[in-house]
Amino acid sequence: MAILTLKEIKKEFTKGEQKVFALRGVDLNIDKGEFLSIVGPSGSGKTTLLNIIGCLDTPTSGNIEYDGKVLGTLNEKALSQYRKENIGFIFQSYNLIPVLSVLENIELPMVIEKKMDQSEITEKAMDIIKAVGLESMAHRLPREISGGQEQRVAIARALVKNPIVVLADEPTANLDSTTAQEIIALMEKINQERQTTFVFSTHDPRMQEHAKRVIVLKDGAIADDERR
């Protein structure tokens, strides 16, 4: 069953007096537990699509449904609330908060959500730190760990609230090949063990190899949808 449904998603931008069509009516169903890669040349609309899936942007027209809930009609605040509760993000350049420790960075989404007390938050964060193999680094600052370890922290941060979907932007782009393999393996492991849905954009052929479904975007429309 689809946990995420995009119906006729269109997005237009105005550049000066010119209209730019970033997405030209994208229809897409994503099922729970998918390990899905979005690929395509620069300007094909990958970023815009992921922004809309991540509730960071709203479509010009069309509907987006999460678990049957239509999000197209929600305002900015409601979208923010939905994002907070249901979506995890992994960024290309990790984007950890530099003044917070590894543990605090992972605790951050739960602290922002304000639904648990601190001991519960710390307990959950420590569980996920163990899952990504960083328990010995819990109290280090981001600048005191390697790039690969930072990306592990980012993955842990994205997973800590058991989101419906984890969106990852070029998660291996800044990593060396060995570390990139480790990160791909980690994401795959989490995907298999927890049935967490991953949607990631990538140019990395190694990542594409591991994807169970590859969406190819071209000029704002889906050119290919390959299931493996």
Binding site: K46, T47, T48, L50, N51, G54, L56, D57, K77, S80, Q81, R83, K84, E85, F89, F91, S93, N95, I97, P98, V99, L100, E104, L108, P109, V111, I112, E113, R157, L167, D169, S201
Partner: protein
């Protein structure tokens, strides 16, 4: 909220030099203000006290006739009801003492050259209860049995080339407007805070003046000293009360308080205070620009961080709160240090003082139009200190609004450059 405080605080530590410099600007502005206020208040109060204690007294009473011609110091309009006046004044709780005085114009000669003087005739014992001439005196004060003794200003004595123990001749018109001259022995020299008094002041007693000027104990002014008040406004209130008290019983007399006699000085005090406030506002404006700059820099450096926080669900108002916390923390730090330094400085000023006479040696210090000499003691103004502290924090708080709002209204997508 704890997480926001943690992030804000750690970011300040992360950029400690920037935080320190911005805090120092605030601290410096507040410190200068508190220092200046304490010194200026002490200086103003010292100047006012000196004028009251040396020449004007707190309340001065003349006859109405004398008042009309007082520029020429006439000797024939004396107060006729001194005893009744003194008795009446003794009944007021704020009155400390009264002293009669009579002033006259004369000329002093050392047999080679002569100089004009403003003579003041006093009742030595009573006068020292009201005025503090003895505090500035070198040599002797008037003795009980002394005859034709005179006390001169130090500068006058220097110009006349006379010293303690020398004889000098005093010329003046008597009460009946005939010329008279008398030799006096210089028993003391005073060096007060009033350069005019030092250059042209001469004091003799009523006992000698009765013979010299046919004075017949004519008293042209009764000077009233009031009990000390720390607060100048309270002192002004006392003066008004005492004048009303005199006017009620003696409505025909001309009664003046220091509020009129020292109107120029009081006006200068107010103007200086306004300047002080103006200067502080300039300092705080500079500090505010510093805070805006500092928080804006922080915002621009952390665009991506703001984007991440927004993506993770932090709301715009929480972003505003986080950056405003940063700005306000700088303000708190700066205000705390500034007020602490201010309090230490005021403590030193109120206990040790600022010895003008030692620092400037024999130079007179003209403090914006009225003289001061000796040691300036600072004054504590607790409400002002608290107000300054809160004002520093409020300035920082207000200065943080703009950059904080800027951070909160950033486009999440642009901030994060997510995909």
């Amino acid at each position: 909220m704890n997480m926001l405080i943690k992030i804000a605080f750690r970011n300040l530590l992360r950029h400690k030099w920037r935080t320190l410099l911005t805090g120092i600007v605030i601290a410096f502005g507040l410190w200068i203000y508190l220092f200046m206020d304490s010194v200026m208040s002490g200086l103003d109060r010292g100047s006012i006290d000196n004028m009251i204690n040396l020449s004007t007294s707190a309340v001065k009473i003349h006859t109405a006739e004398f008042d009309k011609e007082r520029e020429s110091f006439p000797l024939n309009y004396g107060l006729t009801n001194i005893a009744a006046l003194e008795k009446h004044l003794a009944g007021h709780e704020r009155v400390k003492a009264c002293a009669p005085r009579t002033q006259f114009l004369g000329e002093l000669s050392n047999y080679e050259e002569s100089m004009p003087v403003i003579g003041t005739i006093i009742e030595p014992k009573q006068d020292s209860m009201v005025f503090s001439l003895t505090e500035y005196l070198k040599g002797n004060y008037f003795s009980e049995h002394g005859v034709n003794e005179i006390i001169l200003g130090k500068d006058l004595a220097r110009d006349m080339n006379v010293a303690i123990g020398d004889n000098i001749t005093l010329f003046a018109l008597t009460k009946y407007e005939s010329h008279n001259a008398e030799d006096f022995i210089v028993i003391g020299l005073f060096h007060t805070t009033d350069p005019t008094l030092n250059k042209s002041g001469a004091y003799i007693t009523f006992k000698d003046a009765n013979t010299f000027l046919d004075l017949e104990n004519t008293v042209t002014e009764l000077n009233v000293q009031l009990k000390r008040r720390i607060n100048l406004d309270d002192l002004e209130q006392d003066m008004k009360q005492v004048r009303a008290y005199i006017d009620k019983q003696f409505p025909k007399l001309a009664t003046y308080t220091f509020i009129e006699l020292g109107a120029g000085v009081l006006e200068l005090v107010k103007q200086k205070k306004a300047w002080g406030v103006g200067m502080t506002l300039v300092f705080l404006l500079i500090a505010a620009v510093g805070i805006v700059n500092s928080v804006l820099m922080s915002v621009y450096e952390r665009v991506r961080e703001v984007g991440v926080l927004r993506a993770l669900g932090l709301e715009g108002r929480e972003i505003v709160r986080m950056f405003m916390l940063e700005g306000t923390m700088i303000g708190f730090f700066g205000s705390f240090v500034g007020v602490l330094l201010g309090c230490i400085t005021i403590f030193v000023l109120t206990t040790v003082g600022y010895p003008l006479d030692v620092i400037y040696k024999d130079m007179y210090v003209d403090t914006a139009g009225f003289p001061y000499w000796g040691t300036i003691y600072g004054e504590w103004n607790v409400p002002l200190i608290i107000g300054t502290f809160l004002f520093g924090i409020a300035t920082a708080f207000l200065a943080s609004i703009y950059p904080a709002r800027k951070a909160a209204t950033m486009s999440v997508i642009q901030a994060i450059r997510f995909f």
